[in-house]
Protein backbone atom coordinates (compact mmCIF):
# COMPACT_ATOMS: atom_id res chain seq x y z
CA UNK A 1 0.00 0.00 0.00
CA UNK A 2 2.84 2.40 0.79
CA UNK A 3 4.49 1.59 -2.51
CA UNK A 4 1.25 2.15 -4.39
CA UNK A 5 0.68 5.47 -2.64
CA UNK A 6 4.14 6.82 -3.43
CA UNK A 7 3.91 5.53 -7.00
CA UNK A 8 0.57 7.26 -7.42
CA UNK A 9 1.96 10.55 -6.12
CA UNK A 10 4.92 10.22 -8.47
CA UNK A 11 2.62 9.73 -11.46
CA UNK A 12 0.55 12.70 -10.37
CA UNK A 13 3.64 14.92 -10.18
CA UNK A 14 4.67 13.83 -13.66
CA UNK A 15 1.22 14.62 -14.98
CA UNK A 16 1.22 18.07 -13.38
CA UNK A 17 4.63 18.75 -14.90
CA UNK A 18 3.29 17.74 -18.31
CA UNK A 19 0.37 20.10 -17.93
CA UNK A 20 2.49 23.05 -16.79
CA UNK A 21 5.11 22.48 -19.50
CA UNK A 22 4.84 23.57 -23.13
CA UNK A 23 4.13 20.63 -25.39
CA UNK A 24 6.21 20.88 -28.54
CA UNK A 25 5.46 17.47 -30.02
CA UNK A 26 2.07 15.81 -29.59
CA UNK A 27 -0.64 16.80 -27.11
CA UNK A 28 0.24 17.46 -23.50
CA UNK A 29 -3.33 16.73 -22.42
CA UNK A 30 -3.21 13.20 -23.80
CA UNK A 31 0.00 12.41 -21.97
CA UNK A 32 -1.27 14.00 -18.76
CA UNK A 33 -4.52 12.04 -19.04
CA UNK A 34 -2.60 8.79 -19.33
CA UNK A 35 -0.49 9.61 -16.28
CA UNK A 36 -3.52 10.73 -14.26
CA UNK A 37 -5.22 7.43 -15.05
CA UNK A 38 -2.22 5.48 -13.75
CA UNK A 39 -2.03 7.67 -10.65
CA UNK A 40 -5.72 7.14 -9.89
CA UNK A 41 -5.30 3.38 -10.26
CA UNK A 42 -2.42 3.42 -7.78
CA UNK A 43 -4.45 5.48 -5.31
CA UNK A 44 -7.32 3.01 -5.57
CA UNK A 45 -4.95 0.14 -4.87
CA UNK A 46 -3.68 2.06 -1.85
CA UNK A 47 -7.30 2.59 -0.68
CA UNK A 48 -6.87 6.38 -0.72
CA UNK A 49 -10.37 7.06 -1.97
CA UNK A 50 -10.29 10.85 -1.67
CA UNK A 51 -7.07 11.13 -3.65
CA UNK A 52 -8.35 8.71 -6.27
CA UNK A 53 -11.52 10.78 -6.67
CA UNK A 54 -9.60 14.05 -6.98
CA UNK A 55 -7.25 12.51 -9.54
CA UNK A 56 -10.16 11.19 -11.59
CA UNK A 57 -11.62 14.70 -11.62
CA UNK A 58 -8.34 16.02 -13.04
CA UNK A 59 -8.46 13.24 -15.62
CA UNK A 60 -11.96 14.37 -16.56
CA UNK A 61 -10.68 17.94 -17.04
CA UNK A 62 -7.97 16.66 -19.40
CA UNK A 63 -10.50 14.72 -21.45
CA UNK A 64 -12.75 17.77 -21.67
CA UNK A 65 -9.81 19.77 -23.04
CA UNK A 66 -9.36 17.03 -25.64
CA UNK A 67 -13.07 17.24 -26.56
CA UNK A 68 -13.61 13.60 -25.56
CA UNK A 69 -16.90 13.84 -23.70
CA UNK A 70 -17.46 10.11 -23.36
CA UNK A 71 -14.09 9.61 -21.67
CA UNK A 72 -14.71 12.63 -19.45
CA UNK A 73 -18.09 11.24 -18.39
CA UNK A 74 -16.52 7.87 -17.65
CA UNK A 75 -13.84 9.57 -15.54
CA UNK A 76 -16.57 11.36 -13.58
CA UNK A 77 -18.29 8.03 -12.96
CA UNK A 78 -15.03 6.54 -11.70
CA UNK A 79 -14.55 9.57 -9.44
CA UNK A 80 -18.07 9.09 -8.08
CA UNK A 81 -17.40 5.43 -7.33
CA UNK A 82 -14.26 6.43 -5.43
CA UNK A 83 -15.99 9.17 -3.47
CA UNK A 84 -18.90 6.88 -2.65
CA UNK A 85 -16.89 5.37 0.18
CA UNK A 86 -15.99 8.65 1.87
CA UNK A 87 -18.07 11.60 0.66
CA UNK A 88 -21.63 11.10 -0.58
CA UNK A 89 -22.20 14.73 -1.62
CA UNK A 90 -19.09 14.75 -3.80
CA UNK A 91 -20.14 11.43 -5.32
CA UNK A 92 -23.56 12.80 -6.22
CA UNK A 93 -22.09 15.92 -7.84
CA UNK A 94 -19.70 13.78 -9.92
CA UNK A 95 -22.53 11.58 -11.12
CA UNK A 96 -24.55 14.71 -11.92
CA UNK A 97 -21.75 15.99 -14.16
CA UNK A 98 -21.47 12.56 -15.79
CA UNK A 99 -25.21 12.59 -16.50
CA UNK A 100 -24.93 16.03 -18.12
CA UNK A 101 -22.10 14.85 -20.36
CA UNK A 102 -23.94 11.69 -21.36
CA UNK A 103 -26.96 13.82 -22.27
CA UNK A 104 -24.72 16.04 -24.42
CA UNK A 105 -23.48 13.08 -26.48
CA UNK A 106 -26.92 11.49 -26.66
CA UNK A 107 -26.36 8.41 -24.50
CA UNK A 108 -29.65 8.65 -22.66
CA UNK A 109 -29.74 5.07 -21.43
CA UNK A 110 -26.45 5.51 -19.60
CA UNK A 111 -27.65 8.84 -18.23
CA UNK A 112 -30.78 7.11 -16.93
CA UNK A 113 -28.72 4.40 -15.27
CA UNK A 114 -26.55 6.91 -13.42
CA UNK A 115 -29.56 8.99 -12.41
CA UNK A 116 -30.92 5.83 -10.82
CA UNK A 117 -27.58 5.38 -9.06
CA UNK A 118 -27.82 8.91 -7.64
CA UNK A 119 -31.32 8.14 -6.40
CA UNK A 120 -30.07 4.97 -4.71
CA UNK A 121 -27.32 6.96 -2.99
CA UNK A 122 -29.89 9.41 -1.62
CA UNK A 123 -32.12 6.52 -0.58
CA UNK A 124 -29.25 5.03 1.38
CA UNK A 125 -28.76 8.41 3.05
CA UNK A 126 -32.47 8.49 4.02
CA UNK A 127 -32.98 11.63 1.94
CA UNK A 128 -36.39 10.79 0.52
CA UNK A 129 -37.12 14.10 -1.23
CA UNK A 130 -33.99 14.03 -3.35
CA UNK A 131 -34.34 10.29 -3.97
CA UNK A 132 -37.85 10.92 -5.29
CA UNK A 133 -36.66 13.68 -7.62
CA UNK A 134 -33.89 11.57 -9.14
CA UNK A 135 -36.00 8.43 -9.42
CA UNK A 136 -38.52 10.52 -11.34
CA UNK A 137 -35.85 11.82 -13.73
CA UNK A 138 -34.51 8.30 -14.18
CA UNK A 139 -37.97 6.93 -14.96
CA UNK A 140 -38.45 9.67 -17.58
CA UNK A 141 -35.16 8.83 -19.29
CA UNK A 142 -35.84 5.09 -19.25
CA UNK A 143 -39.27 5.77 -20.72
CA UNK A 144 -37.70 7.87 -23.48
CA UNK A 145 -35.43 4.95 -24.36
CA UNK A 146 -38.34 2.46 -24.24
CA UNK A 147 -36.83 0.43 -21.39
CA UNK A 148 -40.17 -0.20 -19.76
CA UNK A 149 -39.11 -2.63 -17.04
CA UNK A 150 -36.55 -0.30 -15.50
CA UNK A 151 -38.88 2.67 -15.93
CA UNK A 152 -41.61 0.86 -14.01
CA UNK A 153 -39.21 -0.09 -11.23
CA UNK A 154 -38.22 3.56 -10.85
CA UNK A 155 -41.85 4.65 -10.98
CA UNK A 156 -42.77 2.25 -8.18
CA UNK A 157 -40.00 3.79 -6.09
CA UNK A 158 -41.38 7.25 -6.91
CA UNK A 159 -44.85 6.17 -5.84
CA UNK A 160 -43.54 4.66 -2.62
CA UNK A 161 -41.63 7.79 -1.63
CA UNK A 162 -44.44 10.11 -2.73
CA UNK A 163 -46.82 8.29 -0.38
CA UNK A 164 -44.31 8.59 2.46
CA UNK A 165 -44.14 12.34 1.79
CA UNK A 166 -47.99 12.51 1.80
CA UNK A 167 -48.29 13.22 -1.94
CA UNK A 168 -51.01 10.64 -2.26
CA UNK A 169 -52.54 11.74 -5.57
CA UNK A 170 -49.24 11.33 -7.39
CA UNK A 171 -48.73 7.93 -5.83
CA UNK A 172 -52.23 6.81 -6.80
CA UNK A 173 -51.78 7.87 -10.43
CA UNK A 174 -48.49 5.99 -10.72
CA UNK A 175 -49.82 2.78 -9.20
CA UNK A 176 -52.92 2.87 -11.40
CA UNK A 177 -50.83 3.44 -14.51
CA UNK A 178 -48.52 0.54 -13.65
CA UNK A 179 -51.56 -1.67 -13.03
CA UNK A 180 -53.02 -0.68 -16.39
CA UNK A 181 -49.76 -1.51 -18.16
CA UNK A 182 -49.44 -4.80 -16.32
CA UNK A 183 -52.90 -5.89 -17.46
CA UNK A 184 -51.70 -5.91 -21.06
CA UNK A 185 -48.80 -8.21 -20.21
CA UNK A 186 -49.63 -11.87 -19.72
CA UNK A 187 -46.64 -12.34 -17.45
CA UNK A 188 -47.39 -9.43 -15.12
CA UNK A 189 -51.16 -9.43 -14.85
CA UNK A 190 -51.22 -11.62 -11.75
CA UNK A 191 -49.46 -8.86 -9.82
CA UNK A 192 -52.09 -6.26 -10.65
CA UNK A 193 -53.98 -6.74 -7.40
CA UNK A 194 -50.83 -5.77 -5.49
CA UNK A 195 -50.59 -2.47 -7.35
CA UNK A 196 -54.31 -1.81 -6.94
CA UNK A 197 -54.04 -2.56 -3.22
CA UNK A 198 -51.26 0.02 -2.92
CA UNK A 199 -53.33 2.55 -4.83
CA UNK A 200 -56.33 1.82 -2.61
CA UNK A 201 -54.31 2.33 0.56
CA UNK A 202 -53.19 5.72 -0.76
CA UNK A 203 -56.82 6.59 -1.45
CA UNK A 204 -57.65 5.70 2.15
CA UNK A 205 -54.91 8.03 3.36
CA UNK A 206 -56.57 10.90 1.54
CA UNK A 207 -59.54 10.42 3.85
CA UNK A 208 -62.34 10.69 1.29
CA UNK A 209 -64.68 7.69 1.51
CA UNK A 210 -66.61 8.58 -1.64
CA UNK A 211 -63.38 8.77 -3.61
CA UNK A 212 -62.40 5.35 -2.26
CA UNK A 213 -65.72 3.88 -3.35
CA UNK A 214 -65.41 5.38 -6.82
CA UNK A 215 -61.84 4.13 -7.07
CA UNK A 216 -62.91 0.61 -6.12
CA UNK A 217 -65.58 0.66 -8.83
CA UNK A 218 -63.00 1.85 -11.35
CA UNK A 219 -60.64 -0.95 -10.31
CA UNK A 220 -63.38 -3.50 -10.88
CA UNK A 221 -63.82 -2.17 -14.40
CA UNK A 222 -60.06 -2.34 -14.94
CA UNK A 223 -59.70 -5.89 -13.69
CA UNK A 224 -62.89 -7.97 -13.47
CA UNK A 225 -61.18 -10.54 -11.25
CA UNK A 226 -60.26 -7.91 -8.64
CA UNK A 227 -63.70 -7.90 -7.02
CA UNK A 228 -63.23 -11.51 -5.94
CA UNK A 229 -59.90 -10.97 -4.22
CA UNK A 230 -59.17 -10.46 -0.55
CA UNK A 231 -57.50 -7.15 -1.34
CA UNK A 232 -60.77 -5.74 -2.64
CA UNK A 233 -62.66 -6.97 0.42
CA UNK A 234 -59.96 -5.53 2.67
CA UNK A 235 -60.25 -2.10 1.08
CA UNK A 236 -64.05 -2.20 1.07
CA UNK A 237 -64.22 -3.21 4.74
CA UNK A 238 -61.80 -0.48 5.74
CA UNK A 239 -63.82 2.08 3.80
CA UNK A 240 -66.94 0.90 5.62
CA UNK A 241 -65.17 1.15 8.99
CA UNK A 242 -64.06 4.68 8.18
CA UNK A 243 -67.58 5.58 7.10
CA UNK A 244 -68.95 4.32 10.42
CA UNK A 245 -65.98 5.86 12.31
CA UNK A 246 -65.40 2.59 14.12
CA UNK A 247 -61.76 2.15 15.23
CA UNK A 248 -62.40 -1.32 16.64
CA UNK A 249 -63.78 -2.57 13.35
CA UNK A 250 -60.85 -1.00 11.51
CA UNK A 251 -58.43 -2.81 13.79
CA UNK A 252 -60.24 -6.11 13.35
CA UNK A 253 -60.13 -5.86 9.56
CA UNK A 254 -56.44 -4.97 9.52
CA UNK A 255 -55.62 -7.73 11.99
CA UNK A 256 -57.48 -10.32 9.95
CA UNK A 257 -55.72 -9.27 6.75
CA UNK A 258 -52.35 -9.20 8.49
CA UNK A 259 -52.83 -12.71 9.84
CA UNK A 260 -53.12 -13.95 6.24
CA UNK A 261 -50.64 -11.64 4.49
CA UNK A 262 -48.15 -9.85 6.76
CA UNK A 263 -48.09 -6.15 5.94
CA UNK A 264 -44.74 -4.63 5.03
CA UNK A 265 -43.46 -1.51 6.76
CA UNK A 266 -44.70 0.85 4.04
CA UNK A 267 -48.30 -0.37 4.29
CA UNK A 268 -48.03 -0.40 8.08
CA UNK A 269 -46.97 3.24 8.13
CA UNK A 270 -49.78 4.37 5.85
CA UNK A 271 -52.48 2.36 7.62
CA UNK A 272 -51.25 3.73 10.94
CA UNK A 273 -51.82 7.23 9.59
CA UNK A 274 -55.37 6.29 8.62
CA UNK A 275 -55.98 4.85 12.08
CA UNK A 276 -54.62 7.92 13.85
CA UNK A 277 -56.91 10.15 11.81
CA UNK A 278 -59.87 7.91 12.59
CA UNK A 279 -59.04 7.95 16.30
CA UNK A 280 -58.88 11.73 16.29
CA UNK A 281 -62.27 11.93 14.61
CA UNK A 282 -63.78 9.50 17.11
CA UNK A 283 -62.43 11.53 20.01
CA UNK A 284 -64.01 14.64 18.53
CA UNK A 285 -67.34 12.82 18.34
CA UNK A 286 -67.00 11.71 21.96
CA UNK A 287 -66.24 15.25 23.05
CA UNK A 288 -69.28 16.52 21.24
CA UNK A 289 -71.41 13.86 22.89
Amino acid sequence: MADQLSKGEEFEKKAEKKLSGWGLFGSKYEDAADLFDKAANCFKLAKSWDKAGATYLKLASCHLKLESKHEAAQAHVDAAHSYKKTNINESVSCLDQAVNLFCDIGRLSMAARYLKEIAELYEGEQNIEQALVYYEKSADFFQNEEVTTSANQCKQKVAQFAAQLEQYQKSIEIYEEIARQSLNNNLLKYGVKGHLLNAGICQLCKGDVIAVTNALERYQELDPTFSGTREYRFLADIAAAIDEEDVAKFTDVVKEFDSMTPLDSWKTTLLLRVKEKLKAKELEEDDLT
Binding site: V254, L271, L272
Partner: protein, 243 residues
Protein backbone atom coordinates in the same frame (compact mmCIF):
# COMPACT_ATOMS: atom_id res chain seq x y z
CA UNK B 1 12.55 23.83 17.19
CA UNK B 2 10.72 21.01 15.40
CA UNK B 3 11.01 18.48 18.21
CA UNK B 4 8.52 20.10 20.66
CA UNK B 5 6.00 20.57 17.85
CA UNK B 6 6.35 16.98 16.76
CA UNK B 7 6.03 15.76 20.31
CA UNK B 8 2.90 17.83 20.78
CA UNK B 9 1.37 16.44 17.60
CA UNK B 10 2.27 12.91 18.59
CA UNK B 11 0.75 13.19 22.06
CA UNK B 12 -2.41 14.81 20.68
CA UNK B 13 -2.76 12.07 18.11
CA UNK B 14 -2.30 9.28 20.64
CA UNK B 15 -4.77 10.86 23.06
CA UNK B 16 -7.39 11.26 20.33
CA UNK B 17 -6.87 7.71 19.16
CA UNK B 18 -7.25 6.34 22.69
CA UNK B 19 -10.48 8.25 23.12
CA UNK B 20 -11.72 7.02 19.73
CA UNK B 21 -11.06 3.41 20.67
CA UNK B 22 -12.86 3.86 23.98
CA UNK B 23 -15.94 5.30 22.24
CA UNK B 24 -15.84 2.49 19.69
CA UNK B 25 -15.96 -0.06 22.49
CA UNK B 26 -18.88 1.74 24.12
CA UNK B 27 -20.70 1.89 20.80
CA UNK B 28 -20.24 -1.83 20.24
CA UNK B 29 -21.74 -2.67 23.63
CA UNK B 30 -24.64 -0.25 23.24
CA UNK B 31 -25.48 -1.44 19.74
CA UNK B 32 -25.68 -5.02 20.99
CA UNK B 33 -28.02 -4.08 23.82
CA UNK B 34 -30.02 -1.93 21.40
CA UNK B 35 -30.55 -4.94 19.14
CA UNK B 36 -31.58 -7.08 22.12
CA UNK B 37 -33.93 -4.33 23.23
CA UNK B 38 -35.52 -4.41 19.79
CA UNK B 39 -36.08 -8.16 20.05
CA UNK B 40 -37.52 -7.77 23.55
CA UNK B 41 -39.77 -4.96 22.31
CA UNK B 42 -41.20 -7.33 19.72
CA UNK B 43 -41.97 -9.97 22.33
CA UNK B 44 -43.34 -7.32 24.68
CA UNK B 45 -45.57 -5.99 21.93
CA UNK B 46 -47.03 -9.39 21.20
CA UNK B 47 -47.39 -10.16 24.89
CA UNK B 48 -49.10 -6.90 25.77
CA UNK B 49 -52.30 -8.04 24.11
CA UNK B 50 -52.70 -10.98 26.47
CA UNK B 51 -51.14 -10.15 29.80
CA UNK B 52 -50.92 -6.44 30.44
CA UNK B 53 -52.01 -3.72 28.03
CA UNK B 54 -50.61 -0.66 29.80
CA UNK B 55 -47.08 -0.49 31.11
CA UNK B 56 -44.75 -2.69 29.01
CA UNK B 57 -45.05 -0.71 25.75
CA UNK B 58 -44.55 2.59 27.54
CA UNK B 59 -41.57 1.33 29.50
CA UNK B 60 -40.00 -0.26 26.44
CA UNK B 61 -40.60 2.88 24.41
CA UNK B 62 -38.91 5.10 26.99
CA UNK B 63 -35.78 3.01 27.39
CA UNK B 64 -35.66 2.47 23.64
CA UNK B 65 -35.76 6.22 22.96
CA UNK B 66 -33.12 7.05 25.57
CA UNK B 67 -30.85 4.31 24.22
CA UNK B 68 -31.29 5.64 20.69
CA UNK B 69 -30.36 9.17 21.72
CA UNK B 70 -27.32 7.89 23.59
CA UNK B 71 -26.07 6.00 20.55
CA UNK B 72 -26.70 9.01 18.32
CA UNK B 73 -24.67 11.32 20.55
CA UNK B 74 -21.84 8.78 20.74
CA UNK B 75 -21.76 8.54 16.94
CA UNK B 76 -21.58 12.32 16.64
CA UNK B 77 -18.76 12.45 19.18
CA UNK B 78 -16.85 9.75 17.31
CA UNK B 79 -17.32 11.70 14.07
CA UNK B 80 -15.84 14.81 15.71
CA UNK B 81 -12.87 12.83 17.00
CA UNK B 82 -12.28 11.35 13.55
CA UNK B 83 -12.26 14.86 12.09
CA UNK B 84 -9.75 15.98 14.75
CA UNK B 85 -7.56 12.98 13.97
CA UNK B 86 -7.79 13.87 10.27
CA UNK B 87 -6.55 17.38 10.99
CA UNK B 88 -3.77 16.07 13.24
CA UNK B 89 -2.63 13.65 10.55
CA UNK B 90 -2.71 16.37 7.88
CA UNK B 91 -0.66 18.80 9.96
CA UNK B 92 1.81 16.16 11.16
CA UNK B 93 2.85 15.22 7.63
CA UNK B 94 2.72 12.10 5.48
CA UNK B 95 3.04 8.89 7.47
CA UNK B 96 1.67 5.66 6.07
CA UNK B 97 0.80 3.96 9.34
CA UNK B 98 -1.12 7.03 10.49
CA UNK B 99 -3.07 7.10 7.23
CA UNK B 100 -3.93 3.42 7.52
CA UNK B 101 -5.11 3.78 11.10
CA UNK B 102 -7.20 6.79 10.14
CA UNK B 103 -8.82 4.84 7.29
CA UNK B 104 -9.52 1.98 9.69
CA UNK B 105 -11.23 4.29 12.18
CA UNK B 106 -13.31 5.83 9.41
CA UNK B 107 -14.42 2.39 8.25
CA UNK B 108 -15.43 1.45 11.79
CA UNK B 109 -17.50 4.64 12.12
CA UNK B 110 -19.20 3.92 8.80
CA UNK B 111 -20.02 0.36 9.88
CA UNK B 112 -21.50 1.48 13.18
CA UNK B 113 -23.59 4.15 11.47
CA UNK B 114 -25.00 1.65 9.00
CA UNK B 115 -25.81 -0.88 11.72
CA UNK B 116 -27.46 1.74 13.91
CA UNK B 117 -29.59 2.92 10.99
CA UNK B 118 -30.65 -0.62 10.15
CA UNK B 119 -31.60 -1.52 13.72
CA UNK B 120 -33.46 1.76 14.11
CA UNK B 121 -35.44 1.06 10.94
CA UNK B 122 -36.30 -2.42 12.17
CA UNK B 123 -37.46 -1.17 15.56
CA UNK B 124 -39.56 1.55 13.92
CA UNK B 125 -41.22 -1.01 11.66
CA UNK B 126 -41.97 -3.35 14.54
CA UNK B 127 -43.33 -0.57 16.71
CA UNK B 128 -45.60 0.72 13.94
CA UNK B 129 -46.79 -2.80 13.25
CA UNK B 130 -47.64 -3.41 16.90
CA UNK B 131 -49.35 -0.05 17.22
CA UNK B 132 -51.44 -0.66 14.12
CA UNK B 133 -52.68 -4.05 15.23
CA UNK B 134 -53.17 -3.47 18.95
CA UNK B 135 -56.65 -2.82 20.31
CA UNK B 136 -58.61 -3.12 23.54
CA UNK B 137 -60.61 -5.99 22.04
CA UNK B 138 -57.65 -8.15 21.09
CA UNK B 139 -58.53 -11.02 23.38
CA UNK B 140 -62.17 -11.15 22.24
CA UNK B 141 -61.15 -11.13 18.61
CA UNK B 142 -58.54 -13.82 19.12
CA UNK B 143 -61.02 -16.01 20.95
CA UNK B 144 -63.66 -15.54 18.27
CA UNK B 145 -61.40 -16.22 15.31
CA UNK B 146 -59.59 -19.16 16.86
CA UNK B 147 -62.84 -20.80 17.94
CA UNK B 148 -65.24 -20.67 15.07
CA UNK B 149 -63.56 -20.01 11.69
CA UNK B 150 -60.97 -22.73 11.49
CA UNK B 151 -61.58 -24.24 7.99
CA UNK B 152 -62.14 -20.84 6.42
CA UNK B 153 -58.93 -19.51 7.96
CA UNK B 154 -57.00 -22.46 6.60
CA UNK B 155 -58.31 -21.83 3.10
CA UNK B 156 -57.49 -18.14 3.31
CA UNK B 157 -54.01 -18.87 4.60
CA UNK B 158 -53.41 -21.23 1.71
CA UNK B 159 -54.57 -18.63 -0.79
CA UNK B 160 -52.26 -16.05 0.78
CA UNK B 161 -49.38 -18.50 0.34
CA UNK B 162 -50.29 -18.83 -3.33
CA UNK B 163 -50.30 -15.06 -3.66
CA UNK B 164 -46.87 -14.96 -2.04
CA UNK B 165 -45.63 -17.43 -4.63
CA UNK B 166 -47.04 -15.24 -7.37
CA UNK B 167 -45.13 -12.26 -5.97
CA UNK B 168 -41.91 -14.25 -5.97
CA UNK B 169 -42.55 -15.31 -9.57
CA UNK B 170 -43.06 -11.65 -10.48
CA UNK B 171 -39.70 -10.79 -8.96
CA UNK B 172 -37.98 -13.54 -10.93
CA UNK B 173 -39.67 -12.39 -14.14
CA UNK B 174 -38.54 -8.81 -13.49
CA UNK B 175 -34.96 -9.99 -13.09
CA UNK B 176 -35.22 -11.99 -16.32
CA UNK B 177 -36.59 -8.97 -18.19
CA UNK B 178 -33.80 -6.76 -16.87
CA UNK B 179 -31.23 -9.34 -17.95
CA UNK B 180 -32.82 -9.52 -21.40
CA UNK B 181 -32.65 -5.72 -21.70
CA UNK B 182 -28.97 -5.71 -20.77
CA UNK B 183 -28.22 -8.45 -23.30
CA UNK B 184 -30.08 -6.48 -25.94
CA UNK B 185 -27.99 -3.40 -25.25
CA UNK B 186 -24.84 -5.52 -25.42
CA UNK B 187 -25.88 -6.82 -28.83
CA UNK B 188 -26.47 -3.26 -30.00
CA UNK B 189 -23.00 -2.34 -28.77
CA UNK B 190 -21.40 -5.23 -30.65
CA UNK B 191 -23.27 -4.26 -33.80
CA UNK B 192 -21.88 -0.74 -33.46
CA UNK B 193 -18.38 -2.13 -32.97
CA UNK B 194 -18.74 -4.28 -36.08
CA UNK B 195 -19.85 -1.26 -38.08
CA UNK B 196 -16.92 0.79 -36.84
CA UNK B 197 -14.43 -1.95 -37.69
CA UNK B 198 -15.84 -2.19 -41.21
CA UNK B 199 -15.56 1.57 -41.66
CA UNK B 200 -11.99 1.41 -40.42
CA UNK B 201 -11.21 -1.34 -42.93
CA UNK B 202 -12.64 0.79 -45.70
CA UNK B 203 -10.36 3.58 -44.65
CA UNK B 204 -7.21 1.43 -44.75
CA UNK B 205 -6.17 2.32 -48.35
CA UNK B 206 -6.46 6.00 -47.50
CA UNK B 207 -4.35 5.46 -44.41
CA UNK B 208 -1.75 3.61 -46.45
CA UNK B 209 -1.52 6.42 -49.01
CA UNK B 210 -1.33 8.92 -46.17
CA UNK B 211 1.59 7.05 -44.64
CA UNK B 212 3.33 6.92 -48.01
CA UNK B 213 2.90 10.65 -48.42
CA UNK B 214 4.28 11.26 -44.94
CA UNK B 215 7.28 9.08 -45.68
CA UNK B 216 8.02 10.90 -48.95
CA UNK B 217 7.71 14.27 -47.26
CA UNK B 218 10.04 13.18 -44.49
CA UNK B 219 12.70 12.00 -46.97
CA UNK B 220 12.38 15.30 -48.84
CA UNK B 221 12.93 17.19 -45.59
CA UNK B 222 15.99 15.07 -44.92
CA UNK B 223 17.43 15.89 -48.32
CA UNK B 224 16.83 19.61 -47.86
CA UNK B 225 18.47 19.58 -44.45
CA UNK B 226 21.50 17.72 -45.79
CA UNK B 227 21.88 20.22 -48.64
CA UNK B 228 21.76 23.18 -46.26
CA UNK B 229 24.36 21.64 -43.96
CA UNK B 230 26.67 20.87 -46.89
CA UNK B 231 26.33 24.42 -48.23
CA UNK B 232 27.21 25.95 -44.87
CA UNK B 233 30.20 23.68 -44.43
CA UNK B 234 31.49 24.54 -47.92
CA UNK B 235 31.06 28.26 -47.24
CA UNK B 236 33.07 27.96 -44.01
CA UNK B 237 35.92 26.15 -45.77
CA UNK B 238 36.11 28.76 -48.55
CA UNK B 239 36.09 31.63 -46.04
CA UNK B 240 38.90 30.03 -44.06
CA UNK B 241 41.06 29.46 -47.11
CA UNK B 242 40.60 33.02 -48.38
CA UNK B 243 41.51 34.49 -44.98
Amino acid sequence: MRDPNLELQESGWEELRKEARKIEGDLDVKLSSYAKLGARFTQGGSGSGYVDSGSPPIGSSRSWKSMEMEIQSLLEKLLDINDSMSRCAASAGPATSVTQKLARHRDILHEFTQEFRRIKGNINSMREHAELLSSVRDDITDFKTSGSMSPRMQLLRERAAIHGSISHIDDVISQAQATRAVLGSQRTLFTDVQGKVKVLGDKFPMIRSLLGSIRRRRSRDTLILSAVIAACTLFLIIYWLSK
